[in-house]
Symmetry: C2
Subunit: 201 residues, 2 copies
DNA sequence: AACTCAAACTAACAAGCGTTAGTTAAGGTA
DNA sequence: TACCTTAACTAACGCTTGTTAGTTTGAGTT
């Protein structure tokens, strides 16, 4: 098989394995049509092979979805844990959350579509995913509540505030691909400004 | 068949037709699992009948999706046309857009899920839907640009501002069902406050 | 009592689904 | 040269899909 990198695993340079290529291609298709509407034959065609050949590399369609979603969910959990434990102000913590979403999403817009839209098709890992999500949102809300208590942010319904910010951050995967000219840092800055300070003059 | 209303169509009182019941049930299922993952047998079971019986009332699965999505898209278009032509200030227009989304979404949270997540499975009507959406977003951005020009709102990237607000409004369908105690008016007010004035003290 | 009609039913269809089993081809290693 | 590994293949499976054709049921109307 032709490889896109010249050095193999033994020389420590990261070569994209066939399995990783399949998962990446699957994520792309899942973003376009959703998990359920993508068939293994669609995926095979996109890879230039036959459907049965996919099974030399992956265990099942389910497993591909799990690989895409769980790794991303854990990445968010890890980022939130760092932010939570840091000693920044509330506003700074919120800026860091914005930056976390921009960074992860910019790196993997396709996977973020599955995370947002296809998590309900997880089977064994559904409970685990829901647990991670619940924890993330609870940590987020706690940060907002602290900010209200310490008089750093306005005393507004914390759930509405979180919902509002998180909705925007969760939709980034739709929007980042259309704005290739803007850097992650610029986007995170503008977004922080809009979300935190509003747009009223 | 048992009917849930006592007066029939001839007496001018709106009776929910069997077709409307099916579409409403379908929207509920589509929200839970997405259009592609819901089978006609799932829908039939939810209605308490056999799959073949559905076809006495509807033409096809496709047609159900079209009915759900297009009517909502046209409702938004109509609302935007009114707002656009009105002589309110930019801030007031933005408040009206928030209220429009809250109102339509509160009335039909299930359908809003399809509008947001399953539009790509439209077939004949896909181009029409995309045209309505593009027009809506263009009108939205024009309002923001006017606000910047007239010095009513801060001079920030208009696309980021629209994206930020619209992402939140488009996610309302996920959130409204969890907050049944809050009224549409209260929600619209708090949301306007957060989206327009921010949360910074 | 006879008729109408909405709304259900059974049975079946062709196509497509995810997946398995067993085989082949080519390149690197012993 | 013989072997091993990787990655493709063909063929087929049992099941599910959306949809159709034709039939039955039961309540309301004439």
């Amino acid at each position: 098989m032709f490889k896109f990198t010249t050095l193999n695993n033994k020389s420590q340079l990261k070569t994209e394995t066939r399995k990783e290529e399949i998962i990446k291609t699957a994520a792309k298709l899942f973003k376009e049509k959703g998990y359920s509407a993508v068939t293994m034959r669609d995926l095979a065609t996109a890879m230039g092979i036959k459907a049965a050949s996919l099974y030399n590399h992956i265990n099942s369609k389910q497993d591909i979805l799990k690989d895409i979603i769980i790794s991303l969910a854990e990445e968010f959990t890890q980022g939130m844990n760092l932010i939570k434990k840091s000693d920044h102000s509330t506003i700074e913590k919120l800026n860091l959350i914005v930056a976390l979403h921009v960074e992860i999403t910019a790196k993997n817009t396709f996977g973020m579509a599955s995370l947002n839209n296809d998590w309900m098709h997880l089977e064994e890992q559904l409970d685990y995913y829901l647990q991670l999500r619940k924890k993330y949102e609870q940590d987020f809300i706690d940060i907002i509540k602290t900010g209200i208590a310490t008089n750093e942010i306005l005393d507004t319904n914390p759930e509405i505030v979180m919902f509002s910010i998180l909705s925007t951050l969760r939709s980034l995967y739709l929007w980042i691909p259309k704005k290739e000219e803007i850097t992650s840092v610029e986007l995170a800055e503008t977004l922080s400004q809009v979300l935190i300070n509003g747009i009223n003059k």
